[in-house]
Point group: C2
Chain length 192, copies 2
DNA sequence: GTCATTTTAAAATATTTGTTTTATAAAATG
DNA sequence: CATTTTATAAAACAAATATTTTAAAATGAC
């Protein structure tokens, strides 16, 4: 009972994620959030505790709803075919989305600007996706799809670096060209 | 005449660069700067105008004194041999330096946190180093050291991405392994 | 030694920004 | 309809942080 809220939690978190993604944690003020989400300041504090609390949920949302689906293919097909499809999807998808980099990676260079809880979440995110890729590459190696001399862990590092870093580095004009080139470069690194 | 200053401009800029490098622009307060450089607040404002003014000089210093020397080899040897030496130097050097990423690239994901002047300087920096690499790769192509089907511009993008992004992405534990692997991956991408 | 000049130290100011409070509005319950 | 409950709007508060000011200190010039 009581007065019904005019917002839905999920919509707020999603919009907040967009703001944090665009500006970075420190450069997003609570006023920015309030303006962009339409959420009332008091409601924000009641619902999420504080700015950091909302940020933590935004990170979680990003992991679950933006990145998660992308990596699902590697969960279903942890092998070379999965990796290839994954990379192709990422490259074509990345060319479409606006240039904001990866929300998580963007904050790697801003460790001192975020809470330790947030930093831990970012670290865990890196570990998680890297581990997914490594697992798939390990299986690929067992299947003989990549050479026995390769180190799946190092290659996984490289793949994640490319996937989550490419969009960050590329500026608007060069991004597409960069990405279109990446698939080949990465595949060559894996196969050769 | 007048009271002699207790600081030297260059030393201050260098130290300030370190702080901006470590924390990012927005997460560095003027108090931080004052504490780390030993410079007086008033002297800071007199000498550099404001926090942004000091940041701009720090960026310039970084370009001239940290990155410049690294790229000198490409100015002297704009060819495949130059690129190889350059990459080898970077990879061995990066493994030593502490993990702070690239001061410029770190701020690519923080466009809204820095002044437009600073953003322009970061963009110019990217253009400059990319152009140096591209030029060397173009010559390498003319020399027949990389295939005629390659696109020097795209490869240059990739090389700069790896060189300035690798350290950013790598966390302490994985960085070394990542970097040691990069030289081979990059060279393979160029050559193959 | 005093004066002019510049730096420095410390305090003061101003602004931004995170957070809390107070009063009002919109429902559900009995 | 009165009461209770929760959300909202707007203002108030508090803390951090950028910037300015004021007064004292340290030099060189006359």
């Amino acid at each position: 009972m009581g007065r019904p809220r005019t917002y839905t939690r999920d919509a707020v978190v999603e919009k907040a994620m967009g703001v944090f993604w665009q500006n970075g944690y420190k450069a997003t003020s609570v006023s920015d959030i309030v303006r962009e989400t339409g959420l009332n300041t008091a409601s924000m504090y009641k619902e999420f505790g504080d700015k950091n609390g909302l940020f933590l949920e935004a990170l979680e949302y990003y992991r679950g709803n933006v990145i998660g689906p992308r990596y699902q293919i590697l969960v279903d097909n942890p092998n070379m075919a999965g990796v290839e499809t994954f990379l192709r999807n990422v490259m074509t998808g990345a060319a479409k989305t606006e240039y904001k980099g990866c929300l998580m990676m963007n904050h790697l260079a801003q460790k001192h600007a975020i809470s330790s809880d947030a930093a831990i979440q970012v670290g865990a995110f890196c570990d998680e996706i890297e581990s997914l890729v490594k697992n798939a590459l390990s299986n690929a190696q067992s299947d003989g799809d990549i050479g026995p001399d390769k180190d799946p862990a190092q290659l996984a590092s490289f793949v994640v670096f490319c996937v989550h870093g490419a969009v960050l580095y590329g500026r608007h004009d060069t991004k597409k060209a960069l990405i279109s080139n990446f698939y080949d470069v990465i595949m060559r690194a894996l196969r050769n």
